[in-house]
Each structure stands twice: as structure tokens, then as C-alpha cells.
């Protein structure tokens, strides 16, 4: 399938492009659950994921060509029916989720059987596809309540995925996330309920159209709604200090699930926050009424430092990476809080750049777990010499987290820092860089252990994993470098999306 082939493709399919990325994994999930063997379910999941990736790229190309696409689900016209509304921003998010989902499937082939018993594998893949479907649905829909539905689909699936981890503590981690996630979703739906009461609609574009008028009559209800929505989603995206569910979840989930969640789940939540804040509430609620951006900026800065320090003092590598994710979410939210073109571009492009960098890191660590079964730092002495290819990918991902030029992370930080300068707050540049230096510390700490200590224990006999695990890892590492130089499909798209968001909040 290619872009040129679209007009000649069956009329129906091309027209229904926005809904296909949701339908494919949904049907795939049902088929996968019925499969008698793990590898068959894997094949179904792989085909679905690759299809989703192709579809989301096609969707992105179409949006680039024609502008915002509005799709009425089931033929019911919005605002009464559910509208799927795709613009550059959510096409970009769809592309991130789709691409990551497809690339890591190869990894699953060897990685998943280690954690999941053969009989459960079909269900595992079914749940994975449901999670994929939920995340894509959140990104694609233009209906506030529909977001909630998909959020619950993805969350429920996530709880299951985490609980599948082989460590018993995975259950506790899943339970912890269940409680926190449910609180978050409840806050969100409370906010939406308030909005519905005062605007009488659930369609996002429609709410945006009416909210200014409603604000004149019910200012407090709308401010309360905004507060509920922001806190609820901040829980899902692990904004400091609402992040406590994340480190355990990432540490104890099966490595495959960790890669997927770390690269996609928080990103979609960030997208919802951006959409809600800039497009829905933006026109009505002034900063004076509720200082959202100031509050987020302060929390983001705390996240960048506190979480980085926690990462530095962490002894398990996955948990270190998890805290690093919390810090990186801080960067993304800083971009949102700056709320100017460069800052937002930095934040949005970091959704993508952080996704590929963290994917590379977690894939590499997953390979270590695959070979050794443990990730305590002192037990990984010398692993860099025994698993050179895996650790090379880890180093590339780590450099990107630090933000070294020539890696994707640098592009994000450059834009964020430019945003800080445009905002008239150049001191933020120094804070951004100072936090990067802490990243040098925690990445460097593991690199020292991995390369400078003589291999001991089972590290002595460790070696790189097979091709099915190496290829996705190397692909991600290569992407980290590629997108450090070629930014047409990352930073340029993010800039388009940022322009649209700022335009939306001003219009």
C-alpha cells in the first residue's frame, strides 16, 4: 500500500481510514484470543500491528495532504454521533504508537515466552492488541466521553499486561496502578461530566465552540472541570508527584510490555492533556483564573530534577530508566507550560524522540533480562563486554536521554531551550541543561559498571541475544541517530502541530 495507491483502493476503505487503526487491533484481539498456540497468536498480533503502523502512516500522509479529517462513526453526524477527528498532532501520536507497536513485535517472539506460560500466550497477545486499540482510540477520537472509554480499555489491558510479569511483585505493581489509574480516570470523567452539564455536548470541537459562552455563566464549574481533567490526566501521564505507580509498573511488567508502555502509554496521555488544555479549554479559561501553565512548569522542573536524582540513586536498571521516564515527562510538560511555538514543538517532538530512545533502552535491558534474569546493577558488572551489541544500543539510547547532539534527544532539547529563550526566561535553559547533566550521571553510572568491572557470576557467560531481539533493538538505536539528523518527520511535524495548538487556543 502506498499513498499513490489510495485513490484506486476501494472507495470504502480509503474513506474509513481514521477508524481502521482501531478496528484492526480490536478484531485482531478477538482472533488472537481464539488461537490454540502462542506463536499463532503472535502472528495475528504481528500482522495487526504492522497493519496498524501502515494505516497510521497513511493517515498521517493524508492529513498532511488534505488537512484535518473528520470522520463520523457509524454515519452519525457530529456533534450527536461520535466524531473521529485527525489533525497533525494526533496523526503524529498515532504514528508513534503504531510504529513502536510494529517494531517491537519481532522482539516479542523470544521475549514473551520467557514470562508468559504457553497457554496464556494467546490471551497475552489479545490483551496487548486491546491495549494498542485503546491507546490508538484515545488518540484518534474527537469525543470527550469516547476518550474515557478508550482510556479504560487501554488501562484495563495495561493492568493485565503488568500483572503478567514473572516476579510476584508484578501483581502488587498492577494493583497499585489499578488504584491510581482508576482515580485518574474518575477525575477525568468527573471533569467531562461538569463540562457536559454546562455546555450540553461531548464533542471536543463543539465544547470548544461553546465553552467561552458557558464560562460567562458558570465560571466555577468550568474551572473545576479543568482542574479535574488536568489532575486526572496528569496521573495517567505520571507527572511528578503523581508518578508513584510508574516505577514499579515498568520494573515488574514483562520486558516486552515495559517497552510498549514506556514508549507509548504516557505519550498518549500527554496528547490528551495538550488537546484538552489548548483546544478545548484554551479559548475560555485565562491563566489568571487558574494558573495551569505555571503550576505545570513548577512540577515539570521538579520532575526534571527530583526524578533524575531518584534515577541516579536507583539500583535496578529498569527502575532507573523508569525514573528517567518521569524526568523526561517533565521535559515534555515543560514544553507545554512554555506554551510558545518552539517550546511546544520541543515538547511534542520529545513525545516521539523519548519514545524511540526509551524503547531502545528498555529493549536493550530486556535483552539483558532475557539472558541473565536480573538487573541489579552490581550483578551486571562487565555485561558491556559480554553483550557488546546490546550495550551499544543502550549507550546510544542513553546519549539521547542526555541530549547529546547527533541524537534525537538533542533536537527536543534544542527546541525546548529555544522555547525558554522565546519565553524571556533564559535561566530555564540552564535548568534544562543542568538536568541533562544529572542524566550523564545516571547513564554514566551504569556504563561504568557495565564496562569497567570484570564480569562476575553469570555475566561471564552472557552473550548477545538472537537476531529477533537484536534487530528491533538496533533498529530503535539507529532511529535515535537518524532522527538526530533528519527531522522532516519529527520536528517539522511537531512544529506544524504546535502551530495548530497555539492557533487553536488563541482563536
Amino acid at each position: 500500500m502506498s499513498a499513490e495507491a489510495l485513490p484506486t483502493a476501494p472507495f470504502v476503505l480509503a474513506d474509513h481510514l481514521p477508524v481502521l487503526p482501531i478496528i484492526v487491533p480490536l478484531i485482531g484481539a478477538a482472533i488472537a484470543a481464539l488461537m490454540p498456540r502462542g506463536w499463532l497468536a503472535w502472528a495475528v498480533a504481528t500482522v495487526s500491528s504492522v497493519l496498524v503502523a501502515i494505516l497510521s502512516v497513511l493517515l498521517l500522509l493524508q492529513v498532511q495532504e488534505t488537512g484535518t479529517i473528520s470522520y463520523a462513526l457509524g454515519g452519525w453526524e457530529p456533534p450527536l454521533g461520535i466524531e473521529y477527528r485527525v489533525d497533525t498532532l494526533n496523526a503524529f501520536v498515532l504514528m508513534i504508537v503504531g510504529a513502536i507497536g510494529a517494531v517491537i513485535m519481532l522482539y516479542a517472539l523470544e521475549s514473551v515466552p520467557q514470562d508468559v506460560r504457553p497457554r496464556q500466550q494467546p490471551f497475552f497477545y489479545a490483551i496487548y492488541l486491546l491495549c494498542l486499540c485503546g491507546l490508538l482510540g484515545m488518540a484518534v477520537t474527537g469525543d470527550a466521553f469516547n476518550i474515557f472509554v478508550f482510556m479504560e480499555i487501554s488501562s484495563l489491558a495495561t493492568y493485565v499486561l503488568i500483572a503478567m510479569g514473572r516476579d510476584k511483585r508484578a501483581l502488587l505493581a498492577a494493583y497499585q496502578y489499578l488504584i491510581m489509574g482508576t482515580i485518574g480516570a474518575t477525575f477525568y470523567v468527573l471533569g467531562i461530566g461538569l463540562l457536559y452539564t454546562v455546555t450540553g455536548t461531548l464533542n471536543l470541537a463543539d465544547i470548544a465552540g461553546r465553552i467561552a459562552e458557558a464560562y460567562q455563566v458558570y465560571p466555577r464549574a468550568i474551572i473545576a472541570a479543568l482542574a479535574f481533567v488536568i489532575v486526572g490526566i496528569s496521573l495517567k501521564l505520571a507527572l511528578f508527584p503523581l508518578h508513584v505507580w510508574l516505577p514499579n509498573a515498568y520494573t515488574f511488567a514483562p520486558p516486552f510490555a515495559t517497552v510498549f508502555l514506556a514508549a507509548t502509554a504516557t505519550k498518549v496521555a500527554v496528547y490528551i492533556l495538550l488537546r484538552m488544555y489548548f483546544d478545548v479549554f484554551g479559548p475560555a479559561v485565562s491563566v489568571e483564573a487558574l494558573p495551569v501553565t505555571q503550576a505545570i512548569m513548577i512540577l515539570a522542573l521538579i520532575a526534571m530534577f527530583a526524578a533524575s536524582f531518584l534515577a541516579f540513586y536507583e539500583n535496578r536498571v529498569e527502575r532507573m530508566l523508569a525514573y528517567s521516564s518521569v524526568a523526561q515527562v517533565g521535559y515534555i510538560m515543560l514544553g507545554m507550560a512554555l506554551a510558545n511555538e518552539s517550546g511546544l514543538t520541543g515538547g511534542i517532538v520529545h513525545l516521539f524522540n523519548h519514545a524511540i530512545s526509551k524503547a531502545a533502552l528498555f529493549l536493550a535491558i530486556g535483552a539483558v533480562v532475557f539472558r541473565l534474569g536480573h538487573t541489579r546493577m552490581e550483578e551486571l558488572a562487565g555485561v558491556g563486554r559480554r553483550m557488546p551489541i546490546t550495550m551499544a544500543a543502550f549507550v546510544v539510547g542513553g546519549l539521547s536521554i542526555i541530549g547529546v547532539p547527533g541524537t534525537a534527544g538533542f533536537v527536543s532539547k534544542w527546541n525546548l531551550a529555544m522555547g525558554a529563550i522565546e519565553n524571556g526566561t533564559p535561566f530555564l535553559v540552564f535548568l534544562i541543561m543542568a538536568s541533562s547533566i544529572i542524566a550523564v550521571l545516571y547513564v554514566g553510572r551504569f556504563i561504568e559498571v557495565a564496562y569497567f568491572r570484570a564480569p562476575t557470576g553469570d555475566c561471564e557467560t552472557a552473550r548477545d541475544p538472537g537476531l529477533t531481539m537484536l534487530l528491533p533493538t538496533l533498529l530503535m538505536a539507529a532511529a535515535v541517530i537518524y532522527f538526530g539528523f533528519e527531522t522532516t518527520y519529527s520536528a517539522d511535524l511537531a512544529r506544524d502541530a504546535a502551530r495548530a495548538l497555539i492557533g487553536g487556543s488563541q482563536g
Binding site: S342, L399, I402, G403, V404, P405, G406, V411, W414, N415, A417, M418, I421, E422, P426, V429, F430, M433, A434, S436, I437, V440, L441, G444, E448, Y451, F452, G484, F485, E486, T487, A491, R495
Partner: protein
């Protein structure tokens, strides 16, 4: 000499080290071939840069690539005179250093030699790319690549010391570059809207002087590779590396990348005129002059030979930073010359230190009594290198110090001349006693007059250090074309009286000296 379009030569200069980086691991199990790749690449690179130089001298400014990575700024290359000079220095010294490395690494049975040569080739690539950078962002990219690719070299021994040294190395270099240099680049972009190097500078006249002074300080301290105090600790720490690394990277490529960046920033980002008219350079001139003396004094206290040389490097780098800060045409010519002169002198001294270690396994100066009788060639070369560093004729270091002094007078900083003189005396005090000890003190356990067998390091070590010592001499007589090359970087038709007068002075001095010397 290769006859080809400058663009092709430029591309070749960038590609050759990369080809070596691919070839070296391929011949992992055949050391002879692996070293062959290194030597071959070094020769090819030298041939290419030496062929590129005449074109650049004649005014060619070839450009390559233009890859936009963030809005308005792209990765691209353009050869200009200062970069050409730096590439020449790095390219020619890579050959001697490769020969030396082979002698040293084999002589000491070092492990992981493939990784060593691989990282070396990448570091050379980063150096050439940095020299040819078209704008600050490209330069920054390769500045960081140089840090990262040399980290495995610094930590080559992989013991606790190496880990400790590597930590300081990485943290200080990455810390200063990300914490100070990158913000400086961002602020520059915010002010100027571009990062492309341009003769006369890019910063707008409308910028407030205090913004410019902060920016200048950010650059000077942020370019940690230039080892301006208090960010110089990485250099002594990096001495845990095998000596060939210290020689090429920490006397030539890495530190010179630092001062080269300083020169580029002053000449092409600020512009000499902006600095001299706004006087924002004044506090830094005093500070760097202080560092220059202080580092020399610290060098005096070091008994470890490589540590003493490292502090000597810190002090010599301060000369170049000072020359750049003085911001007159003459001083910039002096600073540029010192890149070449100090490189030749200091690499000789490091080669000697490594040869002593390889032959006698001695690292402390107090152990060197009488070794001039065991290693006459090495210690003679050490003497020549020292004299060049001190700045005595007929060695290259004379000219750079002369020009920096002239530049200081031009700029009206008479005290700098005094600083230079004090520093030269200190150089004498911390370098020459080593030679004196080697030649005039008796060898422990050997009676005076008793003949001793010569015990030099392997030929692969001795030949390179003799060559670089010879280069110190040759550079005294060939300073003129180098000075001309640097002058080509400076705006000729500047409004002020300094450029024309200074260019004349800079052009004549070496000629007169050559006449007198021959």
C-alpha cells in the same frame, strides 16, 4: 599533491578516517593489517589536507552538505583558513602518532588494541569535521563526538584509576559543554538568528554590552576543552590514558579543538571589532593571564612527568585563549600559530615521556637521573621540545609568543607582555631541570665515566619523536605561510587601522627572521 576539486578533497578528508574506523575492526584478528589500515588512512588524510591547503590559501572556501536539523540551523561543512590550519596540524601529526602508537602499544603489550585504534580513528574524524564546521551547531556536534569517542581511550586501562579519571573527564567536558556552551550557542542564535561563522562576526550591534559579556564568559568557560581554570581538571585526569592518547589527543586534537573553538567564536561569532570597541574582553584577559601563570606554578610542583606536561599544556592553552581575547589581528595570528607550534613541541615531549615509560618504565621526574646516557636521542628531542615551548629561537614557539606579545602591545595591554615573560621563565624552570637531570646527574648504580649501553625505546617510538622534534625546528623557518593562512581568516578591509598595519607586521616578521636564520 592530489589535483582535485576542493570539495572532493574536503569530502575525502572527512571520509578517510571513517573508512579507517570501518576497516580497523574488520582486521581485528590480523594486527599487521589493522595497523596498516591506520597508517594508510593517516597517510591518505595527510596527502588530502596538504593538497587542500593551497586552494584555501588562494581563497577557495569549499562547502559540503546542508542538513537542517532544527529550524534555521543545519549541519554543514565549509573550509576556512583557521579550520584548514587545524586540519593540517591534526592530519600531519596523526601519521607520526600512529607509528608511535604501534611501537608503544606493542612495546607495552596493551590489551584491546582494536578498540584503541577504532576510537582513535573516530576521534580524528571528529577533529577534522570540527575543523571544517560551517556553523556553531555543527562544531558543537563534533565537539561532543570528540569527547565521547575519546572517553574509551582515556579509560583504556579499565582499572579504578582509569574509571576515576574517565569520570572527571566526561563530567567536566560534558558538563561545561552542555551547561554553559550549549546555552551560549542558544543565546547566540536567539540574538543573531543564525549560527553560521562569518568574517566580522554575526552578533548584532544592538545587543547590550552586558549580554555580550555574559555570553563571552559562557563561551570561554563553556569550552571546557580549552582548559581555562577552574575547568582544567579533566586534563590532568585524562593522563591515565596510554601515552599516545595523551600525546595526540591531549596535546593536540582535544585541547586544540578547545582553543580552536575559542578562536572561531571570537573571530567569526563576536568579530574582533565588537570585542575591542566594547571592551567586554577586559576582565577575562586579566583572568586568563592569571590562569596562565597559575598553571605554570602548579606544573612546577608536579613530580609525575605526564602531570607536569599536562599543567604545562593548561598554561600554554591559556596563551591561545589570551591571544583570542586580545582580539587584534596580530594576536589572533599568534594564537593560530601557537596551535601549530605548541602541538609540535608538546607532542614531542609526550612522545618522550612515553618512550621513557616503554624503555625504562619510569614515570616520575625524580627517577630520571642520568637517563640521558641511556636514551640520548629521546632526551635530546625532549630538550628541543622544551626549548620550543619556552619560545627560544630557532624553534617554532618563538614566533607564536612574539606575535601574541605584539598583539598585546597593539591592544594596549602592556602587562600581558610581562606575563608572557614571567611564564617563559617558569617554563624554563619546570622543563629544563628534567633535561639537566637526565644528562648531568649520574645514573644510579653506575659510576661516572663507566660506559653504559644505550637503551632506547623501540624504533617505532624513537623515529616519530625525532620527526616532531625536527618539526619544531622546521616550523621556525616556515612560520610565514602559516601566518598568511591565518591572516586570510581575518577581515582585510576592516574600517579600523589595526588590520592593515598588523597584517603588514605579521607578514614581514617571519620573512626577516628567515633571512637572518639561514
Amino acid at each position: 599533491m592530489i589535483n582535485a576539486a576542493p570539495e572532493m578533497l574536503m569530502l575525502a578528508a572527512l571520509v578517510i578516517p571513517l573508512v579507517a574506523a570501518v576497516g580497523i575492526p574488520l582486521f581485528h584478528s590480523v594486527p599487521a593489517m589493522r595497523e596498516g589500515v591506520t597508517i594508510g588512512a593517516a597517510l591518505a588524510l595527510f596527502l588530502v589536507v596538504i593538497s587542500l591547503a593551497p586552494a584555501v590559501l588562494a581563497g577557495a572556501r569549499p562547502e559540503l552538505f546542508d542538513l537542517e536539523i532544527v529550524e534555521g540551523v543545519s549541519i554543514g561543512f565549509k573550509v576556512e583558513p583557521l579550520g584548514m590550519l587545524f586540519a593540517l596540524v591534526a592530519g600531519s601529526l596523526w601519521i607520526v602518532n600512529s607509528v608511535y602508537s604501534i611501537g608503544y602499544m606493542r612495546g607495552n603489550n596493551e590489551p584491546r588494541q582494536t578498540t584503541f585504534y577504532l576510537c582513535f580513528a573516530i576521534a580524528i574524524f571528529a577533529t577534522i569535521a570540527l575543523a571544517f564546521s560551517k556553523n556553531l551547531l555543527t562544531l558543537f556536534l563534533f565537539y561532543e563526538l570528540l569527547t565521547i569517542s575519546t572517553y574509551p581511550l582515556v579509560t583504556h586501562k579499565a582499572n579504578a584509576d582509569a574509571r576515576e579519571g574517565g569520570r572527571t573527564y566526561m563530567l567536566l567536558l560534558l558538563g561545561t559543554s552542555m551547561g554553559l556552551l550549549l546555552p551560549a550557542i542558544l543565546i547566540t542564535y536567539g540574538l543573531a538568528g543564525t549560527l553560521t561563522f562569518q568574517a566580522g562576526g554575526i552578533l548584532p550591534d544592538t545587543a547590550e554590552p552586558w549580554t555580550l559579556s555574559i555570553l563571552l564568559a559562557l563561551f570561554i568557560f563553556g569550552i571546557g576543552k580549552a582548559a581555562v581554570m577552574p575547568f582544567h581538571f579533566w586534563l590532568p585526569s585524562a593522563m591515565v590514558a596510554p601515552t599516545p592518547v595523551s600525546a595526540l589527543l591531549h596535546a593536540v586534537a582535544v585541547v586544540k579543538a578547545g582553543v580552536f573553538t575559542v578562536l572561531k567564536v571570537i573571530v567569526y561569532i563576536f568579530g574582533l571589532e565588537t570585542l575591542t570597541t566594547s571592551q567586554i574582553n577586559e576582565p577575562l584577559i586579566y583572568f586568563v593571564a592569571f590562569c596562565l601563570i597559575a598553571a605554570s606554578v602548579v606544573a612546577l610542583t608536579k613530580d609525575n612527568l605526564k602531570a607536569r606536561l599536562a599543567y604545562s599544556t593548561v598554561s600554554q592553552l591559556a596563551y591561545i585563549v589570551l591571544a583570542a581575547l586580545l582580539a587584534t589581528s596580530v594576536s589572533v595570528v599568534g594564537g593560530g600559530l601557537h596551535i601549530a607550534m605548541h602541538a609540535a613541541g608538546k607532542i614531542t615531549l609526550f612522545f618522550c615521556a612515553g618512550a621513557i615509560y616503554t624503555a625504562l618504565h619510569k614515570t616520575e621526574i625524580s627517577d630520571l637521573d642520568g637517563i640521558g646516557r641511556l636514551m640520548p636521542v629521546t632526551m635530546t628531542a625532549f630538550l628541543i621540545g622544551s626549548l620550543s615551548i619556552i619560545g627560544l629561537p630557532p624553534f617554532g614557539g618563538t614566533w607564536s609568543k612574539w606575535f601574541i606579545g605584539m598583539g598585546a602591545l597593539d591592544a594596549g595591554y602592556v602587562f600581558v607582555v610581562a606575563v608572557l615573560m614571567i611564564s617563559s621563565i617558569l617554563n624554563v624552570v619546570y622543563l629544563l631541570p628534567i633535561v639537566a637531570r637526565a644528562f648531568f646527574r649520574p645514573l644510579p648504580g653506575v659510576a661516572d665515566g663507566e660506559p653504559v649501553a644505550i637503551k632506547e625505546a623501540p624504533l617505532a617510538c624513537v623515529v616519530p619523536l625525532s620527526l616532531t622534534a625536527g618539526a619544531c625546528l622546521v616550523l621556525f623557518f616556515t612560520a610565514e605561510p602559516i601566518a598568511e593562512l591565518i591572516e586570510a581568516a581575518l577581515p582585510v578591509a576592516g574600517g579600523g587601522e589595526t588590520p592593515s598595519g598588523a597584517a603588514g607586521a605579521a607578514g614581514e616578521q617571519p620573512t626577516a627572521a628567515t633571512g637572518g636564520g639561514s
